[in-house]
Amino acid sequence: MTAHYKARCCHECSGNVAPVTAPTGEPGHTPTTAPGLGRRRILRTTFFATVVGLPVASLAGCTGADRSGDGRSDASGTTHSPRSAPPDSTAAPRAVPDADRQVLATATQAESRLLATYAATVEKHPDLQAKLAGYIHRHQQHLAALRAAANPAAAPGSPVDADRSDQGAQVSVAASATAALSGLVNAERVTATAHGSGLRTAKGSDNARLLASIAACESSHVTALGGGSAVA
């Protein structure tokens, strides 16, 4: 989707623009017939933040420190962790706020637990491997993103606080595949709820966004695994 989207929504691109008819119920919204202009318009409206890649704060002209003390590393990657850096160490680096260290540690732990549940499920029901591979991959991406947010200065793959208690965690898996899938649905739901709590307490705006996105993914997993119906 991303590649398609970038290809289509750049104002440099051309062609394949459908002449459209005015949608019903939207009088006054006359469709454009100027492809370039229309592309810039849609770029500016629905998707421009995504394409341009600017955070909202930048769009609003905000300057200075993150509104809420978010600890994301800047492009230089020089952010230090609170443990290794004195409070007033050199100018640019900002640390993950203490409050968010706990939020991210909790989220990482929840994600690790969920991955352990998937691993145990696949071990007991190898036939589910193909069905669950995509889910597992997405959770691995979540875990990596949470680790990066929790400890931006760490080398990729470095352990974080939350991981330790989950190593070797015992997960019981139901004997029937159907019941095992229900167990996964429940685990997804529990994790999504935990991330929902985390996003409300996170101080860093980027951390809140990350948690909201992961929670939304997990809710979609609940639906895709058969645990509920899509809205609308």
Partner: protein, 141 residues
């Protein structure tokens, strides 16, 4: 003085919702058997548009207007392409709603943005697409 970062995020969300209203107006009649779902989603976005306008006015901001028209990213010729456009709209709106989570000044708007993001991810499935790892964060895909 309203928080300007939050106002900007609300404006951006409203701009996305304007485009979604327009897009669902275009694709709805081409959905075939799914037309009722398209109509319901269109109404949902119209309602959301009014809600966002209210939030902006409450912050003494002048709500951004809809464009007079939008270009489609591809031709909508029938139910399949109509559903694909719906997914495209949901993904685009998910991104502005994720930015609303980040730009929110208070927990009410942050929670509101998270709910909207959640709903986009759900509707994406409803239109036949697979889940994505980071709804609203296409840079992470």
């Amino acid at each position: 003085m309203a928080d300007q970062s939050e106002v900007a995020a609300l404006q951006q969300a409203l701009a996305g919702v304007h485009a979604a209203c327009w897009g669902y107006g275009v694709l709805g009649p081409r959905l075939g058997d799914d037309e009722a779902r398209g109509t319901a989603t269109y109404q949902l976005y119209r309602s959301l548009r009014n809600q966002l306008i209210g939030l902006l006015r409450a912050r003494s901001a002048d709500p951004v207007a809809a464009q007079s028209g939008y270009a489609l990213p591809f031709q909508v010729t029938g139910p399949d392409t109509a559903r694909r456009l719906a997914v495209h709209l949901e993904d685009g709106c998910a991104a502005v709603f994720a930015d609303l989570v980040a730009g929110a000044a208070g927990s009410d708007v942050r929670t509101f943005g998270a709910r909207l993001l959640h709903d986009c991810a759900q509707r994406r499935l409803g239109w036949g697409a697979e889940p994505v790892a980071f709804p609203g964060m296409p840079e992470k895909r």
